[in-house]
């Protein structure tokens, strides 16, 4: 049997290795995704004061620090047993929306647009963001601007771009400045327009990706995502809902505190990443997907007009639920639009400048759970503390973890469809990396490893010799 290992799939966050085993005819027999690093935040935070956790856990990842910061702060709010002030709640949601804008812009324009705009089989030397800038300068510029807009909000609110310390247990540590509100309100329409242009471009290009749409992880699964009380998309403070592959809501209204009744975690032999599954169904049948596509499948609607118009069109074209993981890209663009519209609503909220933004309290509960939607999907932080507030136990369920099983299945499907071991071409392996990128996975945070971008794919022959290797970095 031949084996193909993709070590370091490029343009994703973190490290991963994919092995693709071939038979004597050069066809794919099996694939495996190994996540090779473990950093163990759960272990080394033992004994630390709980209120340090937002600062510590936001260091897990340089790409979505805000998500960890917020999930952690929510878990700490639960330990304080306080309801945070309304303005703080809204400001945190705004920060989170900004995080979505910048993270999705990064995923789409920087990491995936080379495949999408230049083609899966295009010259690998040019298949990067520089190549995109050369060929589609206008679109590249929009991507850069959008990401900048998101980062600017984060920076404006939190005074720091990468690891903001503005979010604290009990709220945030400073109210919003009126000038910032004015500035963002004036720049918002431009960001919305750019997003709509990018969407239009993507919609016109998508027809040429029919083969990918049909083969990039199309196996129907359940989906999980958080929604508000009316069933609309809610990324900061919703309750968890599961929708099955046929489109029926299986369970909804799951509060953070109840997560362990519904989400089980299986440990896998070949990887450090744990595989969460829907408990009432069991492992491995209880596989579900999270992230942009899952959220749009789970929610009844976005809840903002422009995003809802796009969502309606999306559902008309690809069904509801839409199963192809290739559509994650499309879903992310719709979500950028949603996040921008939501930022607009929040900026216009009469409460937003209220100076009361922090509740002060001590340890009032020995257990705290925080759940939010990170750009990559549901993120849960769960801490247990002693009477003095020292962490005695911590568990983090991260987005890429939920998608672990689905990513594995998608790799299998793409490999079977595109790889022919007898006449191997770079573009075949690139599709394997591309399907991983479609999920925009962040293996650095799922294994809590350092935030580098690297992956390796190996093609291995029946006798165990490595036929080909695709490495990045």
């Amino acid at each position: 049997m031949k084996q193909l290992t993709i070590n370091h799939v490029s343009r994703i966050e973190g490290h991963a290795k994919i092995s693709i085993h071939l038979n004597d005819e050069g066809r794919v027999t099996s694939t495996q995704l190994h996540i090779t690093q473990l950093r163990g935040f759960e272990k080394f935070t033992e004994g630390r004061p709980f209120y340090e956790m937002p600062g510590i856990t936001s260091r897990i990842c340089g790409i979505c620090p805000v998500s960890h910061l917020l999930a952690s702060a929510k878990a700490c709010d639960a330990i304080l047993a306080v309801k945070i002030p309304t303005a703080a709640h809204k400001l945190r949601e705004m920060l989170h929306c900004a995080q979505f804008v910048q993270s999705h812009a990064l995923s789409f324009f920087y990491l995936s647009s080379p495949d999408l705009l230049l083609g899966m089989d295009s010259d690998p030397a040019k298949r990067n963001v520089i190549g995109v800038i050369e060929k589609h300068p206008e679109l590249a510029r929009m991507g850069i601007e959008l990401r900048k807009f998101g980062l600017q909000i984060i920076e404006g609110l939190a005074q720091e771009r990468v690891h903001p310390s503005w979010v604290v247990p009990g709220g945030v540590n400073a109210p919003m400045q009126p000038q910032l509100r004015e500035r963002l309100l004036s720049e918002l329409p431009g960001a919305v327009a750019s997003t709509q242009q990018a969407l239009n471009f993507f919609k016109s290009a998508i027809a040429s990706f029919q083969e990918e749409i049909d083969n990039f992880g199309t196996a129907p699964t359940m989906y999980a995502g958080t929604v508000d009380r009316k069933g609309s998309l809610q990324i900061y403070d919703g309750t968890l809902r599961f929708r099955n592959a046929e489109g029926a809501v299986v369970k909804e209204g799951i509060a953070a505190e109840e997560y362990s009744d519904y989400i089980g975690e299986a440990s896998l032999r070949e990887s450090y990443l744990k595989a969460p599954y829907y408990k009432p169904i069991g492992y491995p049948q209880g596989i579900y997907r999270v992230g942009a596509l899952a959220r749009l499948n789970v929610a009844d609607r976005c809840g903002t007009p422009k995003a809802d118009a796009e969502l309606t069109e999306f559902r008309q074209r690809f069904g509801y639920p839409a199963h192809s993981s290739f559509l994650f890209h499309y879903a992310r663009l719709i979500e950028v639009l949603y996040a921008l519209e939501r930022i607009g609503e929040l900026l216009n909220d009469p409460q937003i400048l209220n100076p009361r933004v922090r509740a002060i309290a001590g340890v009032n509960s020995l257990d705290g759970i925080g759940m939010i939607e990170a750009p990559r999907g549901v993120l849960i932080h769960h801490y247990k503390v002693n009477e003095d507030g020292g962490i005695v136990w911590a568990n983090l369920i991260v987005a890429t973890g939920h998608n672990n099983l689905a990513i594995g299945n998608s790799i299998q499907q793409v490999s079977e469809h595109f790889i022919d071991g007898t006449k191997l071409q770079e573009g075949m392996l690139n599709r394997v990396s591309a399907v991983v990128r479609a999920y925009d996975p962040c293996f650095s945070c799922s294994t809590h490893a350092s935030g580098q971008i690297a992956m390796k794919i190996q093609l291995v022959a029946p006798d165990g010799t490595v036929l080909d290797e695709l490495c990045s970095r």
């Binding site: 004994g47 630390r48 004061p49 209120y51 340090e52 937002p54 600062g55 510590i56 260091r59 690891h163 310390s165 604290v168 247990p169 540590n173 002060i360 001590g362 002693n386 003095d388 507030g389 020292g390």
Partner: protein, 235 residues
């Protein structure tokens, strides 16, 4: 009335009082010498060696905070050699324990960090020791994180010399040295502690902090403690 003597600091002739330390004389003359364990108003112990200076006639680098002035002494406060040794002293403090500034309550307001920045330290030339040290969260209002303690003993001294409560002590020796409270009790159980918070405010790092502050939020307020110490008849 102590006798007035004259010494040279960096070549400049200045007058000092007999019995003063080099540091005091330098301060009086408006000269800067970096310090870390020294805190005005508390006894000087010469623990950190940041204040080392060169004195003509001896090869030894002497701590300015504990070395008394002598008539005719010639002191150099800055030189490449001094910078090198000050850096070594700081680097050894950093590698001895776990200083993860990025997640520290004192990040941005830390005397240790500020000194490192001003001495141009960007990385460590030694292996980190990574000791496994506890955090004492037992006090209602304050927290002691041994990971960030540099054993400067400012807390020990302020508690004994100004507050008169004698809560803190250093236990063990050498690399095993630890700050300890009461008779090795958790801080929250030490009945002598008056909860005044002076130790927290004089601590140069994030080792002692008020509870509940997030990263970067602990800003020490110790301007008035020296004055208080002087009134108590300290140095």
């Amino acid at each position: 009335m102590p006798q007035t003597i004259s010494i040279r600091i960096d070549g400049e002739l200045v007058s000092a009082l007999q019995g003063q330390t080099i540091l005091e004389a330098a301060k009086q003359a408006g000269k800067y010498i970096p310090t870390l364990c020294y805190f005005e108003g508390l006894s000087a112990v010469g623990a950190c060696r940041l204040c080392i200076v060169e004195v003509a006639g001896t090869d030894k680098l002497l701590p300015a905070c504990t070395t008394p002035v002598q008539d005719g002494m010639s002191v150099t406060t800055t030189s490449p050699k001094l910078t090198q040794y000050r850096r070594i002293a700081l680097e050894l403090l950093f590698v001895e324990r776990n200083h993860v500034c990025a997640v520290c309550v004192s990040n941005g307001h830390c005397e240790l960090q500020n000194l490192a920045t001003s001495l141009g330290i960007t990385n460590m030339r030694h292996w980190y020791n990574y000791p496994n040290l506890p955090v004492d969260l037992s006090h209602k209002r304050f927290v002691l994180d041994h990971n960030r303690c540099i054993l400067c003993t400012r807390c020990v001294r302020v508690c004994a010399e100004v507050e008169g409560a004698h809560v803190w002590e250093i236990t063990e020796r050498g690399i095993s040295s630890r700050l300890t409270s009461g008779l090795n009790q958790p801080w929250g159980q030490v009945t002598d502690c008056t909860n005044c918070g002076k130790c927290v405010q004089v601590c140069p790092t994030g080792a002692l902090a008020e509870k509940g502050w997030a990263v970067e939020e602990m800003v020490k307020q110790n301007d008035n403690i020296s004055g208080l110490a002087h009134r108590k008849g300290g140095q």
